[in-house]
Symmetry: C2
Subunit: 368 residues, 2 copies
Amino acid sequence: MASLSGSWRDAYKGMSSDNIKGLVLALSSSLFIGASFIVKKKGLKRAGASGLRAGSGGYSYLLEPLWWVGMITMIVGEIANFAAYAFAPAILVTPLGALSIIISAALAHVILHEKLHTFGLLGCVLCVVGSITIVLHAPQEQEIDSVLQVWNLATEPAFLLYAAAVVGAAIILIVQFVPQYGQSHVMVYIGVCSLVGSLSVMSVKALGIALKLTFSGMNQLIYPQTWVFTLIVLTCVITQMNYLNKALDTFNTAVVSPIYYVMFTSLTILASVIMFKDWDRQDGTQIVTELCGFVTILSGTFLLHKTKDMVDGSSSLGNLALRLPKQLEDSNGFEQEGIPLTLRRHECTKSPRPMRQFILPQDGPEAV
Amino acid sequence: MASLSGSWRDAYKGMSSDNIKGLVLALSSSLFIGASFIVKKKGLKRAGASGLRAGSGGYSYLLEPLWWVGMITMIVGEIANFAAYAFAPAILVTPLGALSIIISAALAHVILHEKLHTFGLLGCVLCVVGSITIVLHAPQEQEIDSVLQVWNLATEPAFLLYAAAVVGAAIILIVQFVPQYGQSHVMVYIGVCSLVGSLSVMSVKALGIALKLTFSGMNQLIYPQTWVFTLIVLTCVITQMNYLNKALDTFNTAVVSPIYYVMFTSLTILASVIMFKDWDRQDGTQIVTELCGFVTILSGTFLLHKTKDMVDGSSSLGNLALRLPKQLEDSNGFEQEGIPLTLRRHECTKSPRPMRQFILPQDGPEAV
């Protein structure tokens, strides 16, 4: 076994210090964001107990300190996520966004006593296993010592073609499809915010690198490219946020979140592979393994969202109690305005209607 | 991208020719075994249409050619699986047993029109993704050119300790626990057949290597060790089969199969790591990645078995139609006697009782 422990250290020497910093930032981002949902929910409940509920148009939560603690926690999480992109490749940071779902599910299980279905637990396991696989096989971040270098990467033909395709597709969706199908097909809104979101991440990464270099003494603010990237960040993030809110406002979160996670993460990885050529420094085995890890995370998030409102039945495995979803109040107009660089994972559904619980005995006597 | 395709070839030069042979044999084994269930089921149905059903004690299926085709297909699959162990490490071959579940689920979907639930499809995806991860990171088989070498590996202190622990635990379970808890706790029977099963696989691997060498001109039958391994194979397989049948006869297949798959595969990998020192030739990243692949396959098989009798509802995601299981006839006494080196994946449940279908509208009007 001695040779085994030695090889453990070798494995971890394999990750560059930048990748490790990016990993730590991404994990803490998930921790903060995941926790923020629970703290805000607690704040909303407390505010709802003493004043008009947010779902019924009340704004008493704005006076509730706990809600503000939740808000600050989320902003800290988004900043950590922003910084993570400056240190590690997007293929490592973006998928880890799924971990915040686990953290909020686990905290909800413990603090809010919202029981997690067996499949939900399985979803958590899959997200962790998939994340470990991606972290172990993510490409090393290439050395970048000037925002001009990032600008050159961004203005290479391949990425310009990608960006043009994304902008073109987004415009067509917005002009042509949103008016006709926006309210009926979830893919329209999500298509826009995923496409634009991939450009958000690339520009955030460029801006993050510029700020990182500036803080380490190599001032990048003197370059106009830094300000062009800042402009792109603002434009993309606002567009992304706008259409994501439309999607969340029109369709059930359990439908929007998994689809958005899949499209946003896939397009971001694609953009990163094209712009930063992540896969040129990797062999086939690593690339395929990363994709396997990614599919595993997707499956985990899919399970988590699909079973969010399902509860395990009584002791015997045979019973599958279906607690039809107790519709949660629309938390508040403001909360939907959170910065959606990562996955928006809060519950906001329309009408508060309690449903009866139906238990279907699998092996029990013939139902009369 | 040119460098990418070059690296694909590098990745696959990484797998030794023996590992590739083992992989092909293991995949074909899953194909044959998976298909055999469908063919046998067809044969049983055809036999049941013209004579007394197997579930009601009839043996007309023995005169049904289609059933025999299914039986032969299964035996060919088990032989391929036996041979796979002679070429590739158990950590590569054993988990791939899960693929036969996918093949039988997919064929049942196409040929028997047994619809697969969305989660079942997800289970198939996870089994494939997990298998790819394991195949890409499985250790290379060490060069063995005599059965004496295998004997030396088997008689090293570490493995002798493992074997003694397994035999001891099995005896305690059989003598102490089976009489009292065998009929009420599924873990008792499965514990025995999983423990003994891990020794079956090691002895099958030893015997397979001896036969492989003999066929390639280095006669190993002259060594008594070959016959000792043969004796161990027979003893272990008969014990394993006996207690697996007890488990399948007492408990629901949907409970037995996933638990058996988890315990049998985990113990086999453990035995292989101890005896053949698979992990000594690997670094931490590969070992952790393999374990992630294994957990992914476990999750996939768990999903497949848990949702075997669940059917997707109508088009809208909201409806989750629960088709209570149409109990399948106990296929036949003999079929349970198949050689269970791999996972027993057939449905045999007690009483043929058609159940009514309950559809629960998730968003529909309040149920009266």
